[in-house]
């Protein structure tokens, strides 16, 4: 466990190697460095995880301070790493899924000219993300937070010749700035009131120093949550994520599905003590999460771009995780984070495999009938779809069910949350199966030219798919709930991290409704999901010809949803355009008139001064000495006259 500091450092070394010398390396060397470094951090993470397991549950927290970083006075931030059950899960997910996606990228990016640049950015991302989840204080976490943001920006705009890609990168960057601003303010507010940025210290002192539900803690947690809203693409700052699909698909899988976007959830879970102190914020978190989950799911219903469907699905699933956090079921949130990382990464990689096979086509209306052409991709994607839809025995079922149950039964939950959650689950099942039917079933809807290229992806891409498919199935069993004769091992493992928060929130373990209620709710959810799957089957498989008619049958609603509620247009009109116009105005009026005027005026004044003082300019040294003497008189005069 003493080696945890190496976990982020190894990919950083990979980044430096490939970044400095990548141009002169051959592809196998680049692969070895990039994937090898991530594999090494995965092994180190495993080692750390098992090291942690050997300890007694109460003492599973280990800090390693690499060196003191900002030492001055009261602000003490170290480059220090914290290993506890929460960060252990996170590093395993990040490095494990990251490794699979790195390997997959070898195949996916094989023909790209900027091969080394891609892996350089990817390794930098891994390093930043691992710093983010391993940091033992807010400042270092913020460094990781900004680091992943930077990598996200670089990778979205990876194909920078494409205007839309650079625009999307910029959009992600700017929207995230809003969130990061809140995050930074939140950290400052905490530092100001609690006097530390060190996690353990803050979480120890905050309950003593800040009133329960008081204004300060509510403001601080809301500001932190603003950061999470930006990074994890929640309403209203979600608009960057769908556009982020402009990046290469492995990037979408790694950054915009499995890891970076879950950083907000991780941060809220990490700060569970603070959030438990602020019930108002918890309510805000739950409502924002639920609204986002439902809202994004409706947009996902009728999108035609395969990656965009997945993007909205990601936003929706992230909403679920926030619902879990908002009802103080942080363990359930992290559980869903993990299973979601598996099946969503798989979905994206599968979609990437499809796009790869279709020579870059992303519109599902021009796919269809790929089932037999891409057997591995098809099978694995079916598994992932079953998982995300919450079909029993697949991982997503356990985690989603846990969240729904907590939303219903928790002290902070309500039946209303459960109802909306259930609706969302149904919508999810619908659009996911719509995706499957449009892509893999039915008539071939692409031209012969494309057909000649269709092929299953190489081994280096399918093997990660298969591994992820296995994980998507079995990943849920670590958290098998008690109601299904499991031991809820996952939540017990995480419990030490959330114990203090639970204490504050007066959450009694095992309290709540009987198992009977749980079974009823579970059954209702499954039934509704299956119903929605059959609806999808009816309109997109059995009566595929009428599907368009079916969609248009919703009339205005369809248009509204299809156009994503016109939110981008709204933002453009209400925020962006006025800003652009305003800055244009500033540029034209303020800059040209005032700033330039100031400088021109200053130049004019200087000229005038020069003319009137020409007598002073006979000899340079003389005038220097004169200014000197004037200053001397000022200094002496000031001191004497003001005594």
């Amino acid at each position: 466990m003493e080696l945890i500091w190496l976990i982020p450092l190894v990919p950083l070394a990979g980044f430096l190697l490939n970044g400095l010398f990548g141009k002169s390396f051959s592809k196998p060397v680049i692969n070895t460095i990039a994937c090898g470094s991530v594999a090494l951090s995965f092994l180190l993470s495993l080692n750390a995880f098992f090291g942690l397991l050997r300890l007694a549950p109460e003492s599973r927290s280990f800090e390693y301070i690499l060196f003191s970083w900002i030492p001055s006075g009261s602000l003490n931030a170290d480059v220090g790493f914290l290993l506890d059950p929460l960060s252990a899960v996170m590093i395993l997910v990040v490095s494990g899924v990251g490794l699979l996606i790195h390997v997959y990228s070898i195949g996916y990016m094989a023909h790209d000219e900027d091969y080394s640049r891609f892996f350089t950015y990817m390794n930098l991302f891994m390093a930043s993300m691992l710093v983010l989840v391993l940091a033992n204080n807010f400042v270092l976490m913020y460094v990781g937070w900004e680091g992943v943001g930077l990598c996200s920006y670089l990778l979205i705009g990876f194909w920078y010749e494409k205007r839309s890609a650079t625009d999307a990168g910029k959009k992600a960057f700017i929207v995230n700035r809003i969130g990061d601003f809140g995050f930074a303010l939140g950290i400052m507010l905490l530092f100001w009131t609690v006097g530390s940025v060190h996690f353990a210290t803050v979480f120890n002192l905050a309950p003593q120093q800040l009133a329960y539900g008081g204004g300060i803690i509510t403001a601080a947690t809301l500001l932190l949550f603003l950061g999470a809203v930006g990074k994890s693409a929640q309403v209203p700052l979600y608009v960057w994520l769908p556009d982020a699909m402009e990046g290469p698909t492995p990037v979408s899988a790694l950054i915009h599905a499995a890891t970076m976007v879950t950083a907000g959830v991780y941060m809220v879970a990490r700060c569970n003590v603070l959030y438990m102190l602020a019930p108002t914020t918890l309510l805000v978190v739950a409502v924002v999460g639920m609204f986002t989950a439902f809202y994004a799911a409706t947009i996902g219903l009728f999108q035609n771009d395969i990656k965009r469907v997945l993007a909205y699905s990601t936003i929706s699933q992230l909403g679920y995780m926030f619902v879990a956090c908002g009802v103080a079921a942080f363990g359930a949130g992290i559980f869903h984070l993990m299973t979601h990382a598996f099946f969503k990464a798989l979905l994206f990689l599968g979609a990437g495999s499809v796009i790869h096979a279709m020579s870059g086509e992303q519109d599902m209306r021009r796919m269809g009938g790929l089932k037999s052409k891409l057997p591995v991709t098809y099978t694995t994607m079916i598994i992932a779809t079953l998982a995300i839809s919450g079909i029993p025995l697949f991982s997503g079922f356990f985690s989603k069910d846990e969240i729904l149950w907590q939303a219903f039964s928790s002290r902070f939950g309500s039946p209303l949350l459960w109802v909306v959650g259930l609706l969302t689950a149904g919508l999810t099942a619908f659009y996911m199966f719509r995706l499957i039917y449009l892509t893999f079933f039915g008539q071939r809807r692409y031209d012969d030219h494309a057909a000649s290229h269709v092929h299953e992806s190489p081994r280096v891409m399918t093997v990660p798919l298969i591994i992820l498919a296995v994980l998507s199935v079995i990943g849920g069993y670590v958290g098998l709930p008690k109601a299904l004769l499991g031991g809820a091992w996952f939540e017990r493992f995480l419990h030490p991290v959330f114990a203090k928060g639970a204490e504050i929130g007066k959450l009694a373990e095992g309290a709540g409704e009987s198992h009977a209620t749980e079974y009823v709710l579970m059954l209702a959810a499954v039934a509704f999901v299956v119903l929605m799957i059959f609806t999808a089957k009816r309109y997109y498989l059995d009566r595929a010809k009428d599907s368009e008619q079916f969609e248009h049958g919703f009339g205005g609603l369809y248009k509204l949803v299809y156009n994503k509620y016109y939110i981008d247009e709204l933002y453009d009109r209400v925020i962006v355009n006025p800003l652009v116009k305003g800055s244009n105005l500033l540029w034209q009026k303020f800059d040209v008139l005032i700033i330039d005027g100031f400088f021109n005026g200053a130049a004019w004044l200087a000229g005038q001064w020069a003319i009137s003082m020409r007598k002073l300019q006979t000899g340079m040294v003389r005038s220097y000495a004169f200014v000197f003497l004037g200053g001397a008189i000022f200094v002496i005069g000031y001191l004497i006259l003001s005594r």
Partner: protein, 166 residues
């Protein structure tokens, strides 16, 4: 020194210092300027004597009057055709210079007016300051004394570097 005439001598020397100083910066013949500089420095030495600082007075005469002023005159004589030519001793900065000077004098006078003079009368002035200074230089002030030699050495090298033929 007889204390009865000392004040008169002080005013006499001060008057000479000020007048000769003014002449140094106003006369147009640089040779005359140098001569008045010697007079000025000499009068300063007189004030030192009045203050009982006989060693300083001697050094003043030896170094400034004897060495430096003579060096200046040599420099003027050796530099072709500098002496005898009327050089310009003032420029367009005169009005500004006057304002600056007046401001400085005003502030100085104000400060002096506010000053409570801390006159110590019980300080014994040693009869032979030369001996006392010599001892101090070799004991208490040996560090500065040694460092001064480095200052001079650095200046010497600097002068050689600048004056060297390329």
């Amino acid at each position: 020194m007889d204390s009865a005439i000392a004040p008169y001598l002080f005013y006499l020397f001060s008057f000479v210092v000020v007048v000769s100083g003014l002449l140094v910066v106003t006369l147009r013949d640089i040779f005359h300027c140098a001569l008045f500089l010697i007079l000025c420095l000499f009068s300063v030495a007189g004030i030192y004597v009045l203050l009982g600082a006989d060693f300083i007075a001697a050094v003043q005469v030896l170094l400034y009057v004897g060495a430096i002023a003579v060096l200046m005159i040599f420099a003027i004589m050796l530099t072709a055709k500098v002496s005898g030519i009327g050089i310009k001793q003032q420029n367009e900065q005169v009005p500004i210079a006057i304002i600056t000077t007046v401001a400085f004098v005003a502030i100085a006078l104000y400060g002096l007016g506010k000053t409570i003079w801390n006159i110590k009368t019980d300080v014994a002035i040693p009869d032979n300051t030369t001996m006392a200074i010599g001892k101090l230089l070799m004991t208490t002030y040996v560090v500065p004394f040694e460092i001064v030699s480095v200052v001079l050495l650095a200046a010497l090298i600097g002068a050689i570097v600048i004056a060297r033929r390329n």
